[in-house]
Structure formats: structure tokens, C-alpha cells
Symmetry: D3
Subunit: 140 residues, 6 copies
């Protein structure tokens, strides 16, 4: 699996009263980015529903005019479910300022769960192993 | 602590392509509702920032025209932090269709953490004890 | 009949160029809150349409970061119509900073008016009698 | 005084769950149109605040894809206040499908009322006399 | 053909991080205004699709609280296409601060191009001749 | 220079009355994507303003639920200006369904043009030469 990225420009309409990116708006973009990732991999967005946000960490404020990059990738596959890790960086920095995990399930037109048949390669990097283990711990 | 409630009407602009309430939009309303709750209790919204979404569970689809009630209350207080439990019901039903936990921290004008000085009563109901324990497990 | 309440947080996207809550945005939230109230009482939102705003008074500016509570209740029932009184308070204050009256009619799937069959108790408090009389004066 | 007009296209994001233009959205556009009119006449929008919606009548449903024309003009001037009449037509029809009256007050930078010094000609048409009388009746 | 005009009030939610009207938002309003114009002339919006923006010039910044007037008219008709010229003025000034050209095509319910049968008068003013020539140069 | 990409999910709120992506909304996303690209390369978004949309071609309808990828890159640098080429693809297809060119200028805090000092490599691929030539033709 690979990362799919989306750039977002923080505009006036996205701010809270502190003048920073409203956590609710960041959550909306985060969920949308993770959905895009599973849809790009599974190819049938109409069969994917978001079941759970496992966590989202807001590590730093994000200000008006900042350009953020929201990248996400599938890190764990169950038979009918897909768990996604997402992270956000700002400007030229690699520092992860927001990250989290979501799980989607694959359903048929009646809303009944069905297998997605996606296969993941074994994780090869330390980072991927770390992410897989965190995803598994959520899934117990 | 008590529940603060917000009603929301699901409109066309809130839908995903399935024709159900987009999980990203529900997350935005959920975060906003929890923020309102801590602001109502702490009285100084300018000192509150959202630090973490611990989880949000989406148990059922929500459709256009549904009226949902998003209720949240503080269930755990640390020295500088406040953890909120939120739940969503639909129409006349008591069934919890979305729920989750968020943590906010109290900060001064420089963004440095500071004590909020809010005190919670000891939980008295089974439900409140259950919620407190879940909140504590997130906080470890 | 009872009050149904909705909290709203005033964010940057809701402001006019004065930096206060844009009256058009307040009107939109006000109408939506009143609609939610009639839908909660009548239970079939698909049969309710807004026929008239009788008045909305804007008594005070509302600023970014304010948390307002929009409460509304049915104060008068005709055979096919329902008149709602709504009021807005801010923060911890009881002062009514915006209020007004709206009328909805109950229609069938062809848009033809039909009886809603909702019954109101006789108003018991001074406030309820006052509101009923104002509603009646609009309805002549 | 003359009418200032604004065309609006009703899009998916403006609909209620009936598939018609949401009354709250229409109210928001209506208030904005009336504000534009007083700002065009008074030339200093920063001194104008909306004080009261006297009424808005919703006579007909408006559907997705409809192009509506919202026209408004000042029909009554007090010393510090301006009352506006607004009407909405659809497509090529002259039928007034929404109309209403709003009052704005002129305030200084401290929010204190001040004279606007706008003068209206005496109404010459039957329509203008009718509108002036309705505006006066609201202003008692 | 004549100009159809739409007033817009620039609000906080329309700003970029410079505090001026975000060019993307201006583009959205510009396209919508041109669409309204072709729909008012052709009368069947369901048959019109936007094929091309030929150019949009942003000559001056537009600030919060400004009231702009977006006027557009058809300046060239092909057999199945319509080219529109749009211009934006601000406050009381006649200075054109944004302008541009768009082309729409008339299609049937299968998306196949079809004649619109609209006829334009020969341009009579210098301005109209100038606009027609520019439109023709785009259409080569 | 390289392409910067942004994925977008087309939701109900983005549709026109045909049920396809509203050209105005696509224009807004297109301008925002091009802005992000110049900001990522120049690193000081506060000094960049959009001066002109040279053209945007809408080649195919885009539907609700489609995931589009908007990619853009700088293809021509003047002393104070930057011209960007943007293209949109859908799902797994490489077919360019929307494309166009925009020019931004670099300005100081008073809005006066200033050199950006960005250097482009000589175009090496056929595609890049083609894009450079189109950009130059716009710039005459």
C-alpha cells in the first residue's frame, strides 16, 4: 500500500475563534482524506463506509494561510475491513502535526458486510511495522 | 457535570455520495458539540484547545431529513485537561448511533497548559462509572 | 409543548464585515431551529413547510467565539398550521438577544394543506399566555 | 429610491430534505440582499446593522435549478433607521413568490444610533404608497 | 442581448489569508453569474453546460465588506454555443476590477450538442464590437 | 519544477442542478490547487496574488462520488510572475478531463510587484516544451 496525499490551504472560513484551524474542520478533512485512500485502493467507493475513528491527535496549532499535506495509507486489512493511518505535515516541515487511525468496512448495496479481497504486502520498514501493530491493537 | 445537547437537521449539503450523512461532517459536528460543552462548563472558550479525539464510533447510517441530537458531557478531569463523552441519537429513539470521547486542554494566551480548576462530583450512576473508566483507560 | 434547544458556536465563517454574527446567518439558524421543533413534535418532517417568518428581533451583536443557545417551542396551533416562538441567549446570560415567531403548515405529498392533529395544553404561565396572544395577533 | 436586484441559482447545497430551497437559506439570501440595498444607498456599510425582520412570506416552493431574482428597495426612512421591502421572482414570471420587510439602523463606531441623512422622494405609484403604509404600520 | 447583474457582499468566509477576496471564490461567483445569464436568455438551464473559461482577469484586490456587482451578457453565438462576457465593479465605481469570457454549449438529455436557436442583434456600440471581436478570437 | 497533487471527493454540496460537478466549484478548486503549487515552490504565500486565469477547459462531466486528482506545476517564470499549468484526472484514468493555465505575481506588503527569484530548469520532455510554449503564447 502507498500514501495518497491531499494538499489543503487553510482559509478564513476554516478557523475557530482562536484564529487557528478548527479541530472539527481538520477532522472533516482527515476523514475525507482517509476515505479517498480506501476508495483509490478498493476502486468502488460506493461499497465503503466509515465505521470508526480510532484516534486523531492534534499536536500543534495550524494557522490561516498554512498549506498542509494530509497523507494516508491502508496499514491493516481484515476480511471486510480496512484500517487507515493518516498524518498531516505543514509547509516544508516533516514534523507530523496531526495523525490518527480510521477503519472502514466494505458493504454491499443492502449495507451487509462483504469481503474486499484487498491484499497487503508484509510491512518492510520499521515505520510500517509500528503502524501495523498500532492498528492491530485498536482492532482487538 | 451534565449533558449539553444540540439538535442538527441533516441537509443535502451534509451528505456523502451514498446519500447518508458524511462521516467527516458528523465528526465536525461532534467535535463542535464537545467543544461547546467544555466551554459552557469552563466559561472561557479562548483557553480551550482540542488535543485528541480518542474514538468516534459510527454505528448506523443517518439520512437526509433526520434530526439528530448530539449530547456531550465532561466525564473526567485531569489537572489541565478535560475529557468529554458525546453521543448521538436520532428522532425519538434512544439508541446511540454515534458516540465517542475527546480530550481538551486548558492553555493560557501563550499556549502553555494551565490548571482549569473544575471539579467533578463522584460518578453516581452505573453509566457514569462506566464512562469514567473508559475515559481513564484512554488517559493512561 | 416544551422548548427544544440547540447550541451554536459562532465561527469566522459566520461573521459579517463588522466581525459580528451576520444577521442572515442568524436567520438561517433560527429558521432551522424552529423547523427542528415542529419536526420533533409532529414527527413527520416531510409534511412540514415554512410559510411565514412573522418577525425576528436582533437586540444585540453576537461575536466570534460566543456560544449561543437557540430555543424554540410551539405556542399556537391552528388546524393545519403551527406557530413557533424562538429565543436566543448567549453564554450564561438569560437575556434574550434575538427572538421571533414563525409559522409552518402541514401538507400532504401533493403540497395540499392537511390537519396536523396536534393539541396544545392551555397556557399556564404568564409567559405562555403572552406568547399565545402575540402569536394570535400575527394570525389574524 | 430604486430596486437593487441579485440573481441566485438554487443548487444542491441550498436544498432542504423536500428537495426545495430551504427556508433558512432563502432567509439568509433575503437579509443579505436587503443589506446590499441599504449599503448601496447609504454608502457606508460599516455603519449599518440589521435590527428587525418584520416579516418574510414564503408563498411557493423553489426548486433546484431555478434562477431567482431577489430585488429590494428602501421604502421608509426614519431619522436613524431604514426600512426595506424585498421581493423574489422566479424565471420569467412576475409572480412574487417570497416577500418581506426588514429594518436597519445606522450606528457609529461605538454602536450608538446616528442619523443617516437619507431622504426619500414622496411615493408616487400606488405600489410605493402601499409599501410605505405597510412599513409605517410595522414601525408603530 | 443585455447585461444581467448580481450583487455580492464579500464576507469573512470568502477571504484568502491576505484578507482579500479569494480568487477561487471570485471565479466561482463569476462562473455562476455567467451561467445565470445564459439560462435567463435560453430559458432551459438543464440544457446548458460550461465548456470553457477563456480568461478571467483579476485587476484589483477586493476586500471584506465590499459590495461587488457581477454583470454578464452573451456577446457571441455559435450554432450550439454561447460566449458570455462578464465584468465586476465595486461600490459606486465604474472601474472594471475583474472581467472575462466563458463559453457554454447547449446539449440534449444525452449530453449531445444541439442548436440553441438564439439570435443576437448586430453589435451597435464600440464596446459591443470590441467584445464580439475578442470573443471571436477565442473561438478560432 | 514538479507537479503538486490534491485529491478531492465530489460531494452533494458540490453539484449543479444537472447532478454533475458545478463548473464554478471546479474553478474554485482549480485556482486553489494552482495557488498551493506556487506557494510550495515560492514558500511565501503571503507574497503571491492570482493575476489571471488564462483558460480552463471542461472536457467531461464529473459526478457525485468521483474522486478527482488536481495536479499543477509551474511551467513558465517571468521576473515577477509565475505561470502554472493544472490538469484534472478522475479515478484510475489518465484522461485529462479539465485543464488550464493561471498566472500569479509576486508582490511585497504594499502590493507592488517584486522579483521572485525562482529559476526553472530548461524543459526536457515534449510535454514540458509544449506547456512552456502555450504559457509563452498567453504571456505575449
Amino acid at each position: 500500500m502507498k500514501y495518497y496525499g491531499t494538499y489543503r490551504l487553510v482559509k478564513s472560513e476554516d478557523l475557530n475563534h482562536h484564529g487557528t484551524l478548527f479541530a472539527g474542520r481538520m477532522s472533516e478533512w482527515f476523514v475525507e482524506s482517509c476515505f479517498i485512500t480506501v476508495a483509490k485502493e478498493y476502486k468502488h467507493p460506493e461499497n465503503l463506509v466509515c465505521r470508526k475513528v480510532h484516534e486523531i491527535n492534534f499536536n500543534e496549532p495550524i494557522r490561516k494561510g498554512n498549506i498542509i499535506n494530509i497523507e494516508s495509507k491502508i496499514v491493516y486489512t481484515g476480511k471486510t475491513s480496512l484500517t487507515v493511518y493518516g498524518k498531516v505535515t505543514k509547509g516544508d516541515s516533516d514534523k507530523v502535526i496531526v495523525d490518527g487511525f480510521l477503519t472502514f468496512v466494505c458493504v454491499d448495496e443492502h449495507g451487509v458486510k462483504m469481503p474486499h479481497n484487498l491484499k497487503m504486502d508484509e510491512p518492510s520498514t520499521e515505520e510500517d511495522i509500528r503502524l501495523l501493530n498500532i492498528a492491530k491493537s485498536f482492532r482487538k
